[in-house]
Symmetry: C2
Subunit: 365 residues, 2 copies
């Protein structure tokens, strides 16, 4: 059982959360630099199970918001995250007793750990997505009825904006253009919760899961097997993600990518090496669906990640390029994301897709 | 001396502030409805001179923000203004002892009066523009070094956004897209000041000036003279606005208007009735400049208002239409707006115009 996230865990966490980021959430390498610096300076971040939280604990969500293509060039600073959380603490008149990740994907699984280390606060072994999603209302917190607001957003010039909105969709609607005006990147704190709410509304165990997935990909587990097989084995051994499989393998033959309104929209085409079959992955910051020769093989909220076939390292959507040899790995979303209440928010409809959600288990592999 | 703004003053204030609105600030008729209702229900709003303010008085700026074309269809409510001010009071931990208008133009000179009546607070006989301007940083407050933030913005759905920005330009940059997301209209509170700051940083006497201009246009003063002459006489008798003149008279022959990013940009062409000469008025929410046959006759920050030739009532930019018989009336801006510190903010450069500011007195009439 992992009780602290220390320097040795950072690489594993980065690798694992890159996979769970399903192509989005920003480059975890950048997040890992932040994490390394913070843990090096302030010591390991205590990892706390949701069961250990006091009912009235004050848990503050932390995350970066922006377009991954911009995050590559504009590194977040932990000071921005601090400004966001402290502004929210001041507004609520209570101090954080723990930090929770909004999403266990890419940069956004790392920053909260770095920030918890800075504050000497525990980081909760849970998050609000069990993966990454591109919008603020797309959380298990929101699905369970927890309010996103009050929410704060901070930029690197010391500007802080506080949103008191009716719901997460409105917070998203108002914050997104502000992030664009901030140069397409900012740090936020939102979904302030009690410990009891975290237990009811989060996806638990995801930080541990990310680290274990990372250890497998790095070869510290399941030694002797090829990387993609190790990744699949780690996923199958997780209680949270089911039906893990490789749905396609081949070479990227085209990537179309547009940055618009602070998001990255695009399509990636992959051809089988033998020439038999083409896979098409559609993404909006994160990968949303994959079809193989027109047949649906996985669709959001189930997880879909394009990994390097040789290393099993996830490739974020902003780093997909022509010629890469890749495997498209899918696994089932945590059960919180596929309920009747969840699907309108995080299912195909939530992304404006016309397809109906079909559980991974019901699709051919 | 006016000590209260009562039901009898509303029409005069609306007429006068429509003129001082220089085409912008929203339709004062809508503001006057709000004012009439509030004063009818809560009684007259005490009008307080800047000299009467205690040095440590807590004065809160109030205004609506949005595109005038939208304000026609979407009436502001005093509850939205209340939410904005009370959120700022909560954030600052102090209660307002007086309300001040951000701009003495159109809707924005009326809403603060209505709101002061609702709260039973005095409204300061001053504002931050001495006219209307389209952006938050374009105030005498900002020119004098008073911070725009913290600032709050409220919509009709109960959403409130609080901005803690480094300066007024940033507040403008972040708030404008939020207003667009709010459906292009919201109410705000900003430039919280002490009484001492108000004395140093405001344009004093503008509410009284607006009422006196309105009385003249309505024929309660300077009886027997034609309306446009009465308007000019009232302006000449004001200590605040100099060099009042009618720079052109004619018929509107074209209006081009684009609503973009929450603003209304456009051009209005007016031809002399005898056919000799054409005037071109350029506007961004407010009128910015007028040329007659290519020769500059008035440019921002000096005031420029298109009035109905028969009634001398100001025509807001969103109501300019083909065929109207109009007079283009200009007068000099209050001295606070034409200093070396002021011109980069509220002069031609502040609007992206290439012309250099030329005081009205230096231009042919």
């Amino acid at each position: 059982m992992i009780t602290h996230i220390g320097l040795d865990d950072i690489e594993d966490l980065a690798i694992g959360s890159a996979f769970l980021g399903t192509g989005g959430g920003g480059d975890p390498y950048l997040g890992s630099l932040l994490c390394r610096e913070a843990i090096g300076r302030y010591g390991p971040a205590p990892l706390i199970d949701v069961a250990q939280l006091a009912d009235d604990a004050a848990v503050f969500g932390a995350a970066a918001m922006g377009a991954p293509t911009v995050m590559i060039e504009k590194l977040f600073s932990i000071e921005d995250q601090d400004r966001a959380v402290r502004s929210l603490e001041r507004f609520l008149g209570r101090s954080a007793s723990a930090i929770i990740s909004l999403e266990i994907g890419g940069c956004n699984s790392m920053m909260p750990v770095a920030y918890a280390a800075l504050r000497g606060l525990p980081i909760v072994d849970a998050d609000g997505m069990g993966r990454a999603f591109p919008q603020l209302q797309m959380t298990s917190f929101n699905i369970a009825g927890v309010r996103c607001a009050p929410m704060t957003l901070a930029d690197e010039h010391g500007n802080v904006i506080l949103f008191e909105t009716e719901d997460g969709r409105k917070a998203e609607e108002f914050a997104r253009p502000v992030v664009a005006a901030m140069g397409a990147a900012g740090c936020m704190s939102c979904y302030p919760m009690t410990g009891a709410q975290v237990r009811r509304a989060s996806v638990p165990g995801t930080l541990t899961a990310a680290i274990e997935i990372g250890r497998a990909v790095a070869g510290k587990q399941y030694a002797g097997r090829p990387p993609v097989e190790r990744l699949l084995a780690a996923l199958c051994d997780q209680p949270l993600y089911g039906d893990a499989r490789c749905v396609f393998e081949g070479k990227i033959t085209s990537v179309e990518r547009v940055t618009r309104d602070g998001w990255v929209f695009g399509t990636c085409r992959i051809e089988a090496l033998g020439g038999a079959g083409t896979a098409t992955v559609v993404f909006q910051n994160e990968n949303l669906s994959v079809t193989v020769d027109g047949e649906l093989r996985c669709i959001v909220p189930d997880l879909l990640t394009i990994v390097d076939s040789e290393t099993a390292h996830a490739i974020p959507t902003e780093r997909l390029t022509y010629g890469q040899r890749v495997s498209v790995v899918a696994c089932a979303a945590p059960p919180q994301l596929t309920t009747e209440a969840a699907l309108p928010i995080v299912g195909p409809k939530g992304f404006g897709l016309t397809e109906t959600y079909a559980p991974l288990a019901s699709l051919s592999g």
